[in-house]
């Protein structure tokens, strides 16, 4: 039997990018919060600039939970499984993957909230891709604006505003929705290479701008500005300039003395009581011992795959198919961001991209979302073009040879000697939609070391994604070639395996037949269970999900505090 602990107000499962944010509004409102985190505390000393450990070996210094439950993947229900990834895209620690993520901190475009209605209005309903289960969000950007603003300031985001209350500033993203005020810090600086790319984009008549980053460009909240040392990509920050929740909202919540962080705690079940029709707490294992943490409300914030897995494995008489899954919607509407179909370029001169960070770059949104006319095209949505400064030696030596050399031997060696610092790979995030037959469930065979099934991904890109890829690649290739590249190479539309940008599975929406959580992020079926993270997002847009997941987390937490009695004591 589990050891029963003293009851608390709220248990947050997972203190990563989303749970680590939610803890702050909860504790500021005076609620007692227990934060269960599968990982441990890591500090600056754990964040060596070590490519092998960070980028190849999957953070051996962190608690190894995610790497023990890597999802399986098959493109569709009748296709063979693809090989399992050697390391999980996410990691476990207080602060979660916000410790080593790229820290691009985008707001979604207004269109992303209204894909169905806006597409229907502009192009007709026939343009919604066949088989897609996409819905409008239950609210628009204007509802989320205040929460984006809150997180940008509490976490710490650098950037250049492009639209303050409708006033367009061409130094920023002219396509962004209106915001009430600018970023709390100016954007990260450019490099000579990114400046060159920006100038080229302007020559093409496009609108380049520095992207937003949860990385300090100046001293902020007593943390120093970025040192641009080049190991931010899957690396922690040795000076805490990256605004992970471990150095921003979590310490602020701890200061209230109302947040208890329980590290190395692996949640196994969310418990439910059918007499009261409420969740009653969370069972977790720490140091081989099982505990039960009772609470009046539970916020599930453990990343898309684990959110779905915990719900599906939390079975009871009332929920034989998993908690909050009477409607069979847990695991549905899953998709991961189409980041494949990239473009690599080879330049005839050194770029000195050895330093900097993935968030130090230049963006073009002219071909993102519905920022351009799709009348004559065969897809909806679009892609963000992103060029940045980031290179490390093992990665550099593993570069494409652009068909100009073999991949080993003397000719290869000669090629990389001359070209290791002359290539650049663009990051192209493209609108991806949910479809009826893309979903998550429990793998019937593979289990984690505790004996629980891992998540199985059944998903593949459909026509809309496949048609958009080459269109976006053409734009990117044009940009590279105009900037002086002598060769470009298009990457393939890849497979839809485990991803850092995994959406859906517990989608948010007013219709309880097609969504797991309501417009505030609480379960349609269990009133005191809230769900945080990109698993509630129904569309991806063309930008990184983290800031949106964090804004939603703040909003869900705030809704709980404002309706505490109704939700937690009802």
């Amino acid at each position: 039997m589990a050891i029963e602990l003293k009851k608390t107000d709220v248990v947050v499962v997972g203190l990563g990018a989303a749970g680590g944010v939610a803890a702050l509004p909860l504790t500021l409102a005076g609620l007692n919060v227990v934060g269960l985190e599968a990982g441990s505390w890591l500090t600056a000393r754990d964040f060596a600039p070590d490519e092998l450990r960070n980028n190849v070996r999957g953070w051996p210094q962190a608690a190894q939970k995610a790497n023990n439950e890597i999802p399986t993947h098959r493109p569709n229900a009748s296709a063979p499984y693809t090989p399992r990834l050697p390391i999980h895209p996410m990691m476990n620690a207080v602060g979660g993957t916000s410790l080593h993520y790229w820290a691009q901190s985008w707001r979604l475009n207004p269109w992303d909230f209204k894909v169905v209605s806006a597409t229907t209005r502009r192009y007709g309903s026939l343009r919604i891709p066949k088989g897609s289960t996409v819905e409008d969000w239950p609210f628009g950007l204007e509802e989320l604006e205040a929460y984006y603003d809150k997180v940008e300031h509490e976490v710490g985001v650098s950037g250049q505003a492009g639209n303050i209350d409708g006033a367009i500033d061409p130094r920023g993203n002219i396509f962004e929705g209106p915001r009430k005020r600018g970023y709390p810090m100016p954007p990260l600086r450019g490099t000579q290479f990114t400046d060159r790319m920006a100038a080229t984009a302007r020559k093409l008549g496009w609108h380049p701008f520095p992207g937003p980053a949860a990385v300090n460009s100046t001293t902020y909240d007593e943390r120093p500005s970025c040192l641009y040392h080049g190991f931010c990509n899957r690396g922690g920050c040795h000076v805490s300039a990256k605004s992970s929740t471990a150095v921003s909202t979590i310490p602020k919540a701890i200061k209230t003395k109302l947040l208890e962080v329980v590290p190395q705690a692996i949640a196994t079940t969310i418990t439910y009581d059918d007499r009261s029709d409420r969740v009653t707490g969370v069972v977790y294992v720490k140091g081989g011992i099982e505990y039960f943490q009772p609470a009046d409300a539970v916020l599930l914030a453990s990343y898309t795959y684990e959110n779905v897995r915990l719900l599906l494995q939390s079975k009871s008489r009332a929920f034989p198919n998993g908690l909050s899954n009477r409607g069979g919607q847990v695991g549905r509407h899953y998709f991961s961001h189409n980041q494949s179909a990239s473009v690599s370029a080879l330049f005839p001169f050194d770029l000195n991209n050895w330093y900097g960070l993935p968030a130090q770059g230049v963006a073009v949104d002219n071909w993102a979302d519905d920022n351009f006319d799709h009348s004559g095209l065969d897809f909806i949505g679009g892609g963000n073009l992103w060029v940045y400064s980031d290179r490390r030696p093992i990665g550099a030596a593993s570069m494409s040879t652009f068909g100009k050399a073999p991949v080993w031997g003397a000719r290869w060696k000669s090629f990389i000697k001359g070209n290791a610092d002359r290539s650049n790979v663009a990051y192209l995030q493209k609108t991806t939609l949910p479809y009826d037959d893309n979903y998550l469930d429990l793998d019937p065979v593979e289990k984690d070391p505790m004996g629980f099934p891992v998540i199985r991904i059944t998903a593949e890109y459909k026509d809309n994604e496949k048609r958009m890829g080459p269109f976006i690649q053409d734009k990117m290739a044009q940009w590279f070639l105009e900037a002086g590249a002598i060769a470009v190479e298009n990457g393939p539309t890849g497979i839809m395996g485990p991803s850092t940008h995994a959406y859906g599975g517990t989608r948010m929406g007013d219709n309880r037949e097609t969504n797991v959580v309501n417009r505030f992020g609480f379960s349609h079926e269990v009133p005191n269970l809230g769900i945080l993270g990109a698993s509630v997002m129904g569309t991806s847009g063309a930008h990184n999900p983290t800031l949106t997941a964090q804004a939603l987390a703040w909003r869900t937490a705030e809704h709980l505090t404002a309706n505490w009695t109704a939700i937690a004591k009802g």
Binding site: L227, Y355, A396
Partner: protein
Amino acid sequence: MASKTDSDAPRDLSRRGLFKQVGAAGAAVIAGTPLAPGEASAREHTAQCHPVATAQLEALETLTAAEADTLEAIVARLIPSDENGSGATEARAAHYIDRALTGPLRSSREAYAAGLAAIDAYAQSSKGAAFARLAAPDQDAVLTDLEKNVATGFVPDAATFFDLVRAHTIQGTFCDPYYGGNANFVGWDLIGYPGIRLAVSEDEQHLKAPQPVRKSAYDNAMFTMKGSDHGHRT
């Protein structure tokens, strides 16, 4: 203590000597037998005073001597030493792989046992001698057969083993020297990597790269075990 090696001097000759001399002793540090405090600096002192020009002696951690001979011969063809400078041999990529196979890469140990035996058998049957005994053009022909996945006798297939060894050879040639490869920073010199800096200025992000720094991440005490004494120089 060896704090002088923290300087930004592009090359530290005493350390290069040390790399060559204490390879086996240093390997023991990584395997979990730390040197006593002061021991490494004493060795370094010795290295400075009595540079040793003899060939380096190498303990094997998991590979058999025959496997190591074959692996050394493979990495020497994947990244050869030639007019473009040092290759995987000087970087000690095989040493890196041998050591990693006892730790982070241990799940590949059996693949190496099987693959190295298979490449020797294939070399024997197609070229008449074990891989390490073949002339370079024949070695290249055998490796090409692996790469093209036409070589027989491999499980699951030759290309899988080729890709595995190639990836690990790149790691061993371009990794932080802490891990026993990229000895004397020959990999980083080859591709012009200007080195690990903990802070990079705006000027250093202009198209012309700054002067190289040749340091391990773990030459920065903030990332090492407290009390350790730079036992990473293998």
